[in-house]
C-alpha cells in the first residue's frame, strides 16, 4: 500500500465494481471479479444478480468464495441449476449482461490467452485452459478484463486465443458473428483501456491518480494509443475500503499486494 492509503488492487476492485449497474446480471469469476461484484452489491447495485458457471444464480455468499463452486454460493442463492442450463438458457440465451475475464496474456485487441505459453503441442507453460471463458467472451453482452500491467501479460499478440477480443486474426467480432460486444474495458493496476470503436485496438482511456502515461505504456507490448481526452479515476472512498477490508476479504486472500 502506497502513500495514498489504498492499494492498487483495492482500486482495481473499486473501478471494476463501478462498472456494474444496478439490476444487471453478472457472470462472476473468483478473486478480484468476485470482490468487485460483491462490493457493487453492497454499495450502488443492491439488485445485481451474481451468476457463477457452477450453477448458482443470485448468490449472496456469506464468506469469500475461494472457488467458483464454493458451497457458500449455494446457501441462500435464488436458484441452483445444471451447468447445461447455465450455458444454454442463461449465457447462450443472451441473459448475461456482464462477464469478467482475465488471463495470462491479453493482446492489443483484447484477445485473451489462458491456454498455453509457447506452442500448443509443445508448451513452455501449460495454463488451465478456457473453462467457461471462451463462451463468456462470445456471449456476454459486454466483458470486463481485469489484470495488472506488464509487457509479459500484455504482448502485441497472444500465443493462443482462448477468449476472443475485438479482432481475432484480422477479423472483427461482427464478421465472426459473435453476439456480445466483447471487452469494453481492461481494468489494469494503473489505468483503464478501452477499444477504439473503429479498429478495436485497446487504447488508454483513463489514468489512476498519480500515474503517468509512460508507466502504462511501459506495461504494454505494443505502441499504446491514448484517447483524445484522458479520464480520471476517483480513488476508493472510505466506505468502499471498509467493505473490501472488513467485510469482503478480511484475510486479504485476494487483496494482498
Amino acid at each position: 500500500m502506497g502513500i495514498s492509503g489504498y492499494s492498487r488492487t483495492e482500486l482495481m476492485a473499486c473501478v471494476a465494481a463501478r462498472e456494474l449497474r444496478d439490476d444487471e446480471v453478472v457472470f462472476v469469476g473468483i478473486g478480484l471479479p468476485s470482490l468487485a461484484c460483491n462490493l457493487a452489491r453492497l454499495t450502488h447495485a443492491p439488485g445485481l444478480v451474481l451468476i457463477y458457471e457452477s450453477g448458482a444464480i443470485g448468490a449472496v455468499p456469506e464468506r469469500l468464495p475461494v472457488s467458483i463452486g464454493d458451497p457458500a454460493l449455494v446457501t441462500d442463492s435464488l436458484m441452483v441449476c445444471s451447468m447445461a442450463d447455465v450455458f444454454q438458457c442463461f449465457l447462450q440465451n443472451g441473459r448475461i449482461q456482464v462477464g469478467f475475464l482475465g488471463g495470462a496474456q491479453i493482446d492489443r485487441y483484447g484477445n485473451i490467452n489462458s491456454t498455453v505459453i509457447g506452442a500448443y503441442s509443445h508448451p513452455r507453460i501449460r495454463l488451465p485452459g478456457s473453462g467457461g471463458a471462451a463462451e463468456i467472451a462470445v456471449h456476454a453482452q459486454r466483458t470486463l478484463i481485469v489484470s495488472a500491467l506488464s509487457p509479459r501479460i500484455f504482448p502485441e499478440t497472444v500465443d493462443f486465443i482462448t477468449s476472443p477480443g475485438q479482432r481475432c486474426h484480422g477479423r472483427s467480432r461482427r464478421e465472426l458473428g459473435m453476439p456480445g460486444a466483447g471487452p469494453v474495458r481492461i481494468i489494469t493496476d494503473r489505468g483503464i483501456l478501452q477499444p477504439d470503436p473503429e479498429s478495436g485496438e485497446m487504447v488508454l482511456m483513463a489514468l489512476y491518480p498519480g500515474v503517468e502515461v509512460a508507466e502504462v505504456r511501459a506495461g504494454v507490448g505494443w505502441p499504446l494509443q491514448s484517447a483524445a481526452t484522458l479520464g480520471t479515476v476517483e480513488p476508493p472512498g472510505p466506505e468502499e475500503l471498509r467493505l473490501l477490508r472488513e467485510v469482503l476479504d478480511p484475510q486479504k486472500f485476494f487483496l494482498k499486494g
Binding site: 473468483i30 478473486g31 458457471e53 457452477s54 450453477g55 448458482a56 475461494v66 472457488s67 467458483i68 463452486g69 464454493d70 458451497p71 449455494v74 446457501t75 441452483v80 441449476c81 445444471s82 451447468m83 447445461a84 450455458f87 444454454q88 449465457l91 447462450q92 484477445n111 491456454t115 500448443y120 503441442s121 509443445h122 508448451p123 513452455r124 507453460i125 501449460r126 495454463l127 488451465p128 485452459g129 478456457s130 473453462g131 467457461g132 471463458a133 471462451a134 463462451e135 467472451a137 462470445v138 456471449h139 493462443f160 486465443i161 482462448t162 477468449s163 476472443p164 477480443g165 481475432c168 486474426h169 477479423r171 467480432r173 465472426l176 458473428g177 459473435m178 453476439p179
Partner: protein, 301 residues
C-alpha cells in the same frame, strides 16, 4: 429387486476396466475421491479420463499412472495453483498424456449429446478462438432454417461414470442438492453407472420428494456407501470443502517425490476410505456442515 449395494473395491473391480473411458464428475461439489483412490489402488491402466475440471482427483490419477488420455476444459487447482502432474505430462517432463480440450460449454454439450444418445450437439460458440484449430473434433453444422453455421461437438459416451450423491436407496435412485454440475448428463451418457453416497436411505425417503431425484436407479449398476467419500471436495449439507488441502496440494504436487509419498501414504497405504479418514483426525470436526435445513413442500393432492 436385488440390492445393488457393493463395497467400493467390488464396484471398481466390476465396473472400471483397463482402457475404459472413465468419468468421475462433480463441479467442485461431490467429487468422488474415494472412487479415484480405489482405481489407483487397483492399478487401472490406459484410462481415458474425462471431466470439465480435472482437479486434484485426476492429477492424482495421472501421477499414479492410470491415464493415457485426458479430456477436459479447465485444468487447474481452483484458487490455489496448478495441477502439476498434469503440467509435467503436458510440458514434456512426465509420462505421455494425450489431451483433448474443450471449453466448459463444449464439455457440457458433449455430455448432453451423450445423455440424449445423439451423435452431436450444436452450440453457438468458438468463433475467434483457437480451440478448433487444436481440436479437430470441434466441427460445424448449418442450420436448415436460417443457414447459420453453428459449432458442434461430438457426443461423449463414457464406459463408466461415477457419481457422488448425498443420498440414494439400494437401487441407486439418487438425490442431489446444491451444485449439480453435469452429473445427470454424465450418468445418462454412460454405459455403466456407479453411485457413491454419503447416506443410504430407504426408498420411502426418495419417494417422499421425487423432484429431488437426479439419477434414477434404472440406469445405475452399483451403489456404494462411502461417508466423506468426496473429501477434499464437499457434500452440501454434510461437510465443507477442505480448502486447506487444496492449498497444500500446490506444494505437494509440485514435487514428484512429495506427490509419490502422498499417494503411498494416503492411497496405496490404506485399504479403504475409513483408513484414509483415520489418518486425518479432526477432519470431520473441522469440516462438518452446520444445520441450514429448508422446509418441505406438500406433494398431496
Amino acid at each position: 429387486m436385488k440390492s445393488k449395494l457393493v463395497s467400493m473395491s467390488e464396484a471398481i473391480a466390476s465396473h472400471v476396466h483397463d482402457g475404459d473411458i472413465v468419468v468421475i464428475e462433480g463441479f467442485t461439489h461431490l467429487i468422488s475421491f474415494a472412487a479415484a483412490h480405489e482405481i489407483i489402488r487397483q492399478r487401472r491402466r490406459n484410462l481415458t479420463l474425462c471431466r470439465l475440471t480435472p482437479d486434484l482427483i485426476y492429477d492424482q490419477m495421472i501421477a499414479a499412472g492410470c491415464a493415457t488420455k485426458l479430456v477436459f476444459s479447465w485444468a487447474g487447482n481452483p484458487g490455489a495453483g496448478s495441477l502439476h502432474a498434469f503440467r509435467r505430462a503436458v510440458e514434456g517432463q512426465g509420462p505421455d498424456l494425450e489431451i483433448e480440450e474443450y471449453s466448459h460449454f463444449g464439455m457440457v454439450a458433449r455430455f448432453s449429446a451423450g445423455a440424449a444418445r445423439l451423435p452431436f450437439w450444436p452450440l453457438r460458440n468458438y468463433m475467434g478462438t483457437d480451440l478448433p484449430t487444436v481440436n479437430p473434433a470441434i466441427k460445424s453444422v448449418t442450420c436448415p432454417y436460417t443457414g447459420e453455421v453453428l459449432a458442434t461437438v461430438p457426443a461423449l459416451n463414457p464406459d463408466v461414470t461415477i457419481v457422488h450423491a448425498q443420498r440414494a436407496d439400494e437401487q441407486g435412485n439418487a438425490q442431489i442438492w446444491g451444485l449439480m454440475g453435469v452429473q445427470k448428463e454424465a450418468a445418462f451418457a454412460s454405459d455403466r453407472v456407479v453411485v457413491v453416497v454419503e447416506q443410504l436411505v430407504d426408498e420411502s425417503v426418495i419417494r417422499a420428494d421425487p423432484n429431488r431425484t437426479l439419477i434414477p436407479g434404472m440406469i445405475v449398476d452399483a451403489v456404494v456407501v462411502e461417508p466423506w467419500g468426496a473429501h477434499p471436495s464437499y457434500a452440501q449439507g454434510y461437510y465443507d470443502r477442505d480448502n486447506d488441502f487444496y492449498v497444500a496440494w500446490e506444494a505437494i504436487s509440485r514435487d514428484v517425490g512429495r506427490m509419490d509419498a502422498y499417494l503411498d501414504e494416503y492411497v496405496y497405504g490404506v485399504r479403504n476410505r475409513a483408513e484414509y479418514l483415520a489418518k486425518m483426525p479432526g477432519t470431520a470436526e473441522r469440516l462438518r456442515a452446520k444445520e441450514r435445513v429448508c422446509a418441505g413442500v406438500n406433494y398431496g393432492y
